[in-house]
Amino acid sequence: MSEQTTDKRVREASRRHFLQAGAALAGGSAVAGLGGTTALADNGANLPPNVPEWMKTPGDPMGSQPYGAPSAYEKGVVKNISKTLPQYISASGRTPLQELDGIITPNGLFYERHHGGVPTIDPAQHRLMLHGMVDRPLVFTMEDIRRFPSQSRIHFIECSGNPVYTKPYGKTASDLCGLVSCAEWTGVPLKTVLNEAGLQPGAKWIVAEGADAAALTRSIPIEKCLDDAMLVYSQNGERLRPQQGYPLRLLLPGFEGNMNVKWLRRLKVVAEPVYSREETSKYTDLMPDGTSREFTFTMEAKSIITRPSGGQKLGAPGFHEITGIAWSGHGKIKRVEVSVDEGRNWQSAELQEPVLTRALTRFRLPWQWDGKPALIQSRAVDETGYVQPTLAELLAVRGANHFYHNNAIWPWRIDGSGEVSNGQA
């Protein structure tokens, strides 16, 4: 009923667009409506002193979108998913960082990485098994998990390969750093659940396993499990999306993304790591001498300017706000420094409160662009005093085949016309 009403309204609106704009073509409803609106905006019919067309007719009725979706004009703001991947079952999709404000990533735009597709899990049939070196091996339903005292905390999750070290480097902020997102997570501290089972002496690691088709498995040091690890079931106020591990995810603030095991079905308390495929052949970091670093958990401090950034264009000289995001797996961001002169001088950006541990932090710097070519870049300093390195500094130590944990500074080059592109390309 309401859909029919909406369709009729859209048809009528689009008919008016065509009549008013004098368009020669007639056709579909919703799409033609959008095109007509653009035409109207172009000829000023919706601009002052005229009364905009959308004020002259009622809007969509209540119930036309039981679950709200963004404006049709924002349809280009979607995950950045390569069209040329060899396959899409084990793959990743990036957050469009340059389109977002603040520090919270909308759930539909949170980056995705899965190793065996996104499972469809009935929460009534999902179980978490906790066993191994515990006094009481236990099985929990999702109702059980939600009975525990809950907590909500804001943390980022970042994929370890964000981005890799080899060319070609990406064009946009999303291409470069879009495998980081941030949300408010709700769940139960893992240590609370471990207490239910009772850890035995000698328990040093916990093997976490997902209920996906990869049964993804990682070993987590017990210190992290007893510190800030959580079992989460909600993200930004609603239940986890399937892509984020519905109905249950392990959250390890500051640790590389794949360790935040999604679709969590099993926790096995053990004395030493299991040395799963994901922590031996996969998420290990190859050095130039042929050795590899293993158990490289923490994502080090990093920042990126999201506006102006690659693919955008400054319309005219004058005032432009430089803004971006900074984060560290080691704690809070202490300072973000911005350079607008090829790295010769650096000034502290303003940090938007709240500045939270292991969360995205928004920074801003007012800037007057003089219309001349410029190189702008940001570097983060976290509360340990660690300073985000340059790509050259990282490459000098790790080489180009290191693959993971690239937290380099990414400068943006602005040319005389205002076009912004990757300063490393």
Partner: protein, 179 residues
């Protein structure tokens, strides 16, 4: 300290202990049965711990691989849509390192663990344990790590020493000293 104060202190300690215990456990969840644990406890340690009974030959593995794996990994494990599984030994310190089972994986039992839990990608946990042993044997044979007549079981798979085993080091970060 007066006796009364001692008694109050003792009572406070008891009360605090009881309160802490009450906070610690909520009585949520139920006991996991041994059968339930056995069904889900599929992870294999690097030393072969928890490998199941059964065995498989390189010859059988060649057949299973052709049917279940070759479409993605290539007939000889050379890679296609799926990862390359074979070769690359001696390349890790070069400008173009090739990471495969033979050149990179440090522990052979991990191969069993991963194939059983995640492969084939379109039907994980569908192969019998015997066939997982067999496919493991075939991939190791393609890499020159076991002989063409090898038959692998829990003991022999755990006894294999992978070429790259000693090349993994602990995380030394922070490794860039720029300030």
């Amino acid at each position: 300290m007066a006796r009364r104060e001692l008694r109050i202190a003792a009572l406070l300690i008891v009360a605090a202990t009881v309160a802490a215990r009450a906070e610690e456990r909520f009585g949520i969840g139920r006991a996991a049965t041994p059968a339930e644990i056995a069904g889900w406890n599929i992870d294999i340690g690097r030393d072969g711990e928890n490998l199941p009974p059964g065995s498989g030959s390189v010859a059988r593995g060649r057949t299973v691989f052709a049917e279940q794996c070759a479409a993605c990994h290539g007939a000889e494990g050379q890679g296609a849509v799926g990862d390359r599984l074979v070769g690359g030994q001696g390349t890790l310190a070069s400008a173009k390192p090739v990471r495969t089972v033979g050149s990179y994986w440090p522990y052979a039992p991990t191969l069993f663990d991963y194939i059983r839990r995640a492969m084939p990608q379109n039907a994980p946990q569908s192969l019998s344990d015997d066939d997982v042993y067999a496919v493991s044997a075939y991939i190791l044979n393609l890499n020159g790590i076991v002989a063409a007549d090898a038959v692998l079981d829990a003991k022999t798979l755990a006894g294999i020493r992978m070429p790259n085993r000693a090349s993994f080091v602990a995380d030394p970060r922070p490794d860039v000293h720029n300030h």
